[in-house]
Amino acid sequence: MLEARDLRKEFGELRATDDVSLTFGETAGEMVFIVGPNGAGKTTLINLLTGLLEPDQGSVVVHGEENGTPVEEDITEMAPEDRVKQGLVRSFQIVHVFEEMTVRENLRVAVLSRHGKTLSMRSVDDGHEGVEREIDHLLAQFRLEDVQHEVAETLPHGDRKLLDVAMSFGLDPTYLLLDEPTAGVATREKEYVIETIVEASEADGVTTVTIEHDMDLVKEYADRLVVLHEGAVFREGDPSLLETDSELRRVLLGVDE
């Protein structure tokens, strides 16, 4: 279980994250969606959880179990790469991929890293069979086989986004934090993405936290909904809130009822 405790982040005057306390993955394989208006602090929250930003206050805690007794570890100070090793993995709203590598090479870096092989001196072309098979699997999962030898920077926007998400999957996450994984992805591919997320959470018990603007998707897939507004948690609960909570509908959708 991943927990945000009283997280606060300020940019000058602006409080982008305002004492947020949340837990994710109380039940393994939970699918949480984070929604909220532009500038609500969604991305900032994920940045704090994954270590891209340091909170001004509060902590990030991972709960686990050791010999049957629950243990908690404060990872607020932990470097992002070490969080990744703990299974805390993310994708980016603004695509971050290795621009000059092909799709396959991009995935290879992720998979090699997961296997802890990045210090190996064995040639990448030979003898990392398991790795190559995993890459093939990822390529198939995200329908990227056709472009596997294309260089990332020449890909259309949608494919780049897919690649970004695919790399996160290649890291074998326990907690997967996805920042608008479907934004800018065409309808058909959107479904692959969501389905892959569902598959991961159901089959592998991955807890996913997804930022999403498309309320139809949220309604369909969310186990739980978190609404952020002006940096703070505005609502938390069942996705049906989107239909029933008029205050929420006003803030989020601009619908006055």
Partner: protein
């Protein structure tokens, strides 16, 4: 008359279209991204270019502004070929451009972002009273009035979009090109921006808009083109086209 009307050298407005793009093929880093685009914007008309991500809308606009190399074709403004022109002359001929990403002049205030085009192209656009033009823009976007001295990087998404549109307007353009002016905005903000665009059109400025979400389009424009894989596949009345099933299928890939 409003100082925001078309510039002094507005032509007699005969049957010639204001902007005529024909057989345009643009290249990005050696790749053809549009193939033989034909489109027209007449004086006082609002036209939309609609298509999904990667269809070639931005590339077409950038070609018009001289920012993306053109392999083939012609782009004429009132009959004058823009392709032979150095890119910085194009705004001076009367095209104002709001790019897809905000691309504001960061570190400068909102007001300065409005003054800059007047300084650079004011003479060519026949602007005599700089302040009047700037005040007019602020009149149009009165939310920006109180943010006048804010540096633009501190603006919210909606305010930034408005500043980008206002900067294009400060040129006193004859033709305003808006690349996805509604994208990435909260639904509330979308409504506001839409009404501004209608107001601009009411001031006799021709408008060319790119949209990846066809649902907004009928409320704003007179006519629309549908672009797919770098080619114009359809054009006509926005209401009719938007309800067309096939077009809807095509558009579903559109962004948020």
């Amino acid at each position: 008359m409003s100082t925001l009307g078309p510039g002094s050298d507005a032509g007699p407005g005969g049957s010639d279209p204001l902007l005529e793009v024909s057989n345009l093929t643009a290249t990005v880093e050696g790749f053809e991204v549009t193939h033989g685009i034909d489109l027209e914007v007449n004086e006082g008309e609002a036209v939309a270019l609609v298509g999904r991500n990667g269809a070639g809308k931005t590339s077409t606009f950038r070609s018009i502004m001289g920012l993306t190399p053109v392999a083939n074709g012609s782009i004429r403004l009132r009959g004058e070929e823009l392709l032979d022109m150095r890119p910085e002359r194009i705004p001076k001929r009367g095209i104002g451009y709001q790019p897809e990403s905000r691309d504001l002049f960061t570190g400068m205030t909102v007001e300065e972002n409005f003054r800059l085009p007047v300084w650079t192209a004011g003479k060519a656009r026949g602007i005599e009273d700089e302040d009047a033009v700037v005040e007019d823009v602020f009149d149009l976007f009165d939310e920006l009035e109180e943010r006048r001295d804010a540096e633009v990087q501190n603006l919210s998404g909606g305010q930034g979009k408005m500043t980008a549109i206002g900067r294009a307007l400060a040129l006193r353009p004859d033709l305003l090109i808006l690349d996805e002016p509604l994208e990435g905005l909260a639904p509330v903000v979308v409504e506001n921006v839409k009404s501004y665009i209608r107001e601009i059109i009411d001031r006799d400025i021709s408008v060319l808009i790119a949209e990846s979400n066809a649902s907004h389009v009928p409320e704003i424009v007179d006519r629309m083109y549908v672009i797919e894989r770098g080619e114009i596949v359809d054009s006509g009345d926005p209401e009719a086209l938007s309800s067309d099933e096939e077009i809807q299928m095509l558009m579903q890939g559109g962004g948020e």
